[in-house]
Amino acid sequence: MNNKHQKWKILFIQTLIILLFALIWEGLGRSSKNIFFLIGTPLAVAGEFWQLLIAGNFIGNFFITGAEAVVGLLIGTLIGTVLGLSLWFSESAAFIAKPFVTALGALPVFALAPLMIVWFGVGFGMKVAIAVFSTVFVAFNQAYKGANSVALEYVDTLKGMNASRSQIFQKVIIPGSLDWVLSSIRLNVGFGLLGAFIGEYISSNEGLGYLILRASNLYNIPRAFAAAIGIIALALILDNIAQFIERRRYTIVQWISVPPQLWHR
């Protein structure tokens, strides 16, 4: 009970902080025309938000950015994870590959953005490609570290049963590095969104990034903020999905590494 009580108290204080912040912002925005031009007011943002919702295809743009980020992060995480885990099979391959991966991972995606237009055009594919590029190295590093962090005693146990390399991989390495892989998904929610965004900033005619870009070009600050709310919402939703998956780690381990006849329930 006490815990629940505490929860409400925290929520109350958080709401209070938001209200206070909005109040100061509103007051500041109303104090002069110049300041209003620079920061707008919460009420103006709400008005623009409503306008976007009924007339500006907010929902459509929301889903476009969401799709770019999700497709990119799924592809990037999948490729990175598969490559990172499979380096476990060969220590020498890992030693050879490691500096290249670090070097590529250190390259800011923005630097390659113009090339992305040349390679992938200006449409949906280009945004996905940038999102893939920004997530794949994170996933790779997490999976590689995860695979190497698996305790040797578990590997030895299976070796002692004369298990094959691929059995050890399936039953020990994958489950043992799952925590690392799952946390890479969560990290990549942020990086995938960022990638989709960068793509929209370079060239786009739809998406939340496009809305922000056009609104700022027209010096419509409240509208830019209204679109930014969409990004925050998107980030929170995706992060919640990633957390949901993280909590299912036990089920995932079962699917991957335990034969169905041994599943409980």
Binding site: E153, D156, L158, N162, A163, Q167, R249, P259
Partner: protein, 256 residues
């Protein structure tokens, strides 16, 4: 197969370790043979290289000199390692851990799974089947490890003090059950321990090792005339105390 088939042959085995530019021999000139179905116990003081010997047999370590020969055919048929501390996979439940050996060998079916469940309740773990292995005690884990090892019908069994962390009463029960299973399955077993009584009860042969660098100084063949199948009652055999004294003298000699 004749009785005298040799499954494990170790010839003049030495293992050298390197640490901070100093090297020392953990094992120095170890010779022995283990025949099919034999229960071969190795006793020795702590740090004499017992575990090193076992790891070399398993192929985890390479011999510096000498040879280790293990029957390839028996190895393929089923080799199991029972480590000193239980190493259950933490993301698996008790049942799933117990089934791992069968699973790896592709021998898991309905019948064997039922036998496995029967064993789990026999060892008093029936209520914990669905518990993750991180949620059970150390002694329970060790029992699961044993169930797992026996369930896969091992032909070659390598044990590194598997009962060391188990309480007194359970230890006798497990010892009795363990010997029974190994005998009927004719499992070739190498069993490392520092517990002399355990070795006398379990072993067909007992190799006594010296202090580091480890060498085998004596091999005994216990023949218990009374209740050889029971870890407690076998002590009624006159040979038990006699052999205990002899091994004790051998080991004590190491410290003087």
């Amino acid at each position: 197969m004749s009785n005298s088939t040799i499954d494990i042959k170790v010839k003049n085995l030495s293992v050298k370790f390197q640490k901070n530019s100093k090297s020392f021999f953990a094992l120095d000139g170890v010779d022995f043979e283990v025949k099919r179905g034999e229960f071969f116990c190795i006793v020795g003081p702590s740090g004499c290289g017992k575990s090193t010997l076992l790891k070399t047999l398993l192929g985890f370590l390479q011999p510096t000199t000498g040879e280790v020969h293990i029957s390839e055919e028996r190895k393929k048929a089923g080799m199991v390692y029972l480590p000193q501390s239980p190493s259950l996979l933490p993301w698996r439940t008790l049942l799933q851990n117990a089934a791992l050996g069968l699973e790896i060998k592709g021998k898991l079916n309905k019948d064997r799974q039922d036998t496995l469940k029967f064993d789990i309740s026999k060892f008093g773990l029936g209520d914990f089947e669905k518990h993750l292995s991180t949620e059970i005690s150390g002694g329970m884990k060790q029992k699961v490890e044993l169930i797992r090892a026996l369930a896969s019908g091992p032909q070659l069994l390598f044990c590194d003090e598997p009962f060391a962390s188990i309480d007194f009463v359970n230890r006798f029960e497990l010892n009795t059950e363990f010997k029974h299973r190994c005998t009927i399955a004719r499992t070739t077993t190498v069993f490392v321990t520092h517990n002399i009584e355990e070795a006398i009860f379990l072993g067909n042969k007992i190799a006594v090792m010296s202090q580091r660098p480890g060498q085998i100084i004596k091999i005994y063949e216990p023949k218990l005339s009374k209740n050889a199948h029971d870890a407690i009652k076998c002590r009624e055999s006159p040979e038990f105390e006699d052999l205990f004294q002899k091994i004790w003298e051998n080991l004590k000699g190491n410290y003087e």
